[in-house]
């Protein structure tokens, strides 16, 4: 069973269209990265899956039910953007309160406090928490009741690098246990390795969706090869340029060439045949490059 299915979902406020016929599904145990500029419709999409917003058009199915049903919500975890809590309660009181509301055991609340690294501050009031600590408490409440679908809106905001790495480790572990996860983020570097598919939203439309490899192939962005130690670097660069490739010299004995569709392996063989080659680096287009590419494409299309 799919974690959720959105079919032709639109959301309009008066004349303004926030989401435009969005089709999106998430399989069990899949991690989907949801990317887009501010106002692209990421949070709206999440709120629709959560049943907080009614759709203007289309069909929504979450965990085999309607999004506003109590049963569905019991197996759903949500970390909102800029999560906030009752300032007068301590971290432990907060988590136990939410555990009661979700029907999770107090023991799990304690476990989660430990797991997100808040055990030492559990009895301090949330008022005194830093942004990162509140974020970790938010993550802990999202994990209450071992949800089958987890929606994380900007989960890494305010987290230091180590906490961010812990978060990704956690996501990997949850994925292995079959939890479906939607990860909404502005922070692109570092996310790649932890998502199965990426969806890029622009102005309420799904601009692109697929695994990174699929997106790279579809975007046709070149891989960049860099080699050092070439004897006749200059000559080779000139030859590549004559063939219509984008190439340039780097320093004394380095070259850089952009390999488009299918050229990559031929170029690599070429460079490996050269005896003097000391080092070859391959730069695949990153998620950030892909994101920039799709953003530009949507802007060019806009009148």
């Amino acid at each position: 069973m799919n974690a959720f299915e959105l079919a032709g979902v639109s959301k309009r406020y008066g004349a303004m269209t926030v989401l435009d016929t969005l089709d999106l599904t998430l399989a069990e145990g899949e991690v989907l990265g949801l990317f887009g500029h501010n106002g692209a419709g990421k949070t709206t999409t999440m709120k629709i899956i959560l049943g907080l917003l009614a759709v203007s058009d289309g069909r929504v199915c979450v965990l085999g039910g309607t999004p506003d049903s109590t049963e569905v919500r019991r197996s759903l975890g949500y970390l909102p953007e800029n999560v906030s809590f009752y300032p007068q309660l301590s971290g432990r009181e907060t988590l136990h309160y939410f555990a009661r509301l979700k029907g999770a055991s107090p023991a799990q609340a304690e476990e989660l406090l430990e797991q997100v690294g808040l055990a030492h501050a559990a009895d301090r009031r949330v008022r005194t928490y830093s942004k990162g600590m509140r974020q970790r408490l938010g993550l802990a409440q999202a994990l209450l009741g071992s949800p089958r679908l987890l929606l994380l809106d900007e989960p890494t905001v305010g987290l230091d690098p180590i906490a961010t790495r812990d978060l990704y480790t956690l996501i990997d572990r949850l994925r292995r246990t079959g939890t479906s996860i939607v990860l909404c983020s502005h922070v692109l570097p570092g996310v790649e390795a932890h998502i199965d598919r990426a969806a890029i939203l622009t102005n309420g439309r799904l601009e692109a969706i697929g695994s990174l490899a699929e997106l790279r192939a579809a975007a046709g962005l070149p891989s960049t090869l860099r080699a050092r130690g070439l004897v006749h670097g200059e000559r080779r660069v000139a030859q590549w340029q004559a063939e219509g490739l984008v190439a340039r010299s780097l320093g004394v004995d380095g070259v850089e060439v952009a390999a488009c569709n299918g050229h990559k392996l031929a170029l690599l063989r070429d460079l490996l045949d050269e005896e003097s080659t000391r080092d070859i680096e391959i730069h695949e287009p990153t998620l950030e490059d892909l994101y920039r590419h799709y953003m530009q494409r949507s802007q060019e299309r806009a009148p």
Binding site: L50, G51, L52, L53, T70, E71, R73, R74, L76, Y78, P80, N82, V83, S84, F85, Y86, Q88, Y97, F98, R100, L101, K102, G103, Q141
Partner: protein, 276 residues
């Protein structure tokens, strides 16, 4: 555990933590004891006069105070959580909006009820212990009626506060609306009714006028507490209309209950439409 109980428990604990409960209890106790002993000071007497006079003075003051306290306690119940961001989180949990509203009502209602029971109750105990040859049975029944009707009045205004809190976009406008509602029910309504009595005597059938009292829970509350002794006199103002109502005290209680239930349902419907 039922989510209503969980939410009620948290609201009650909040009331203890931020000392609302103890503050309201003290206000009620001081008010009750003060009025019992100094209520007759205007007429040159100090000391306890009589049970009906004490209850009458208490009820007139509580008519102002109880709605105000209830509105203060609950005006930010919904809009406050929305502004803080916690409402968004609550609504993604496996509970309905009705659960949230009812949980808050039970929690706040318990705070008010307990404060009245302890505050007014301590005054009753003080009277029973310190005043010689007081009629204990009359004291008990009069205070029971007074405390119970005060609770009901407080709950009605809690429910009204939830209506306003569910409708308001910002906390400050909820506070303004609450203050406005207090002003209307406690001051304006009776003045307007008096105005109608004096100026527009011919335009409205006189038989209709007493029924207008049912449209204001604070008047019902005063009728219950004053009418219980058959108090009559020139100081009653619009309440003297109540003498013409063709039914007994039971109906007054019933109408108060309808007010509370009606406002709660109204709050639920407004809250259900709120977009978070």
């Amino acid at each position: 555990m039922n989510p209503v109980i969980s939410i009620a428990r948290k609201e009650f604990a909040d009331g203890l933590r931020n000392r609302w409960l103890i503050a309201i209890t003290l206000v009620f106790a001081l008010l009750a004891v003060g009025i019992a002993w100094f209520g007759a000071a205007v007429s040159g007497q100090v000391g306890f006069t009589s049970i009906p006079a004490t209850i009458a003075s208490l009820a007139s003051l509580a008519t102002f105070l109880v709605p105000l306290i209830a509105l203060l306690l609950a005006y930010d119940a919904i809009v406050g959580e929305d502004e803080a961001g916690t409402l968004l989180l609550l609504l993604t949990y496996p509970l309905g909006r009705g659960h949230i509203l009812l949980g808050k009502f039970v929690g706040h209602g318990l705070i008010l009820a307990l404060a009245m029971l302890i505050g007014f109750g301590s005054a009753a105990v003080a009277i029973a212990l310190l005043v010689e040859d007081v009629e204990l049975a009359l004291l008990a029944s009069a205070f029971a009626r007074f405390v119970l009707s005060s609770m009901l009045l407080g709950w009605i205004f809690l429910a009204l506060a939830y209506v306003l809190s569910s409708a308001a976009k910002e906390k400050s406008s909820a506070a303004g609306l609450a203050l406005g509602a207090w002003f209307v029910f406690v001051l304006v309504f009776d003045l307007a009714l008096l105005g109608v009595l004096v100026i527009g005597q011919d335009s409205i059938p006189p038989a209709l006028l007493p029924w207008l009292l049912l449209a204001n829970p604070t008047d019902l509350y005063r009728l219950i507490n004053l009418g219980g002794f058959g108090v009559t006199g020139e100081n009653l103002g619009v309440l003297s209309l109540g003498a013409e109502l063709p039914f007994g005290e039971g109906v007054l209680w019933g109408v108060l209950l309808i007010w509370a239930a009606g406002l709660l349902i109204c709050a639920w419907r407004v809250f259900a439409r709120r977009i978070v």
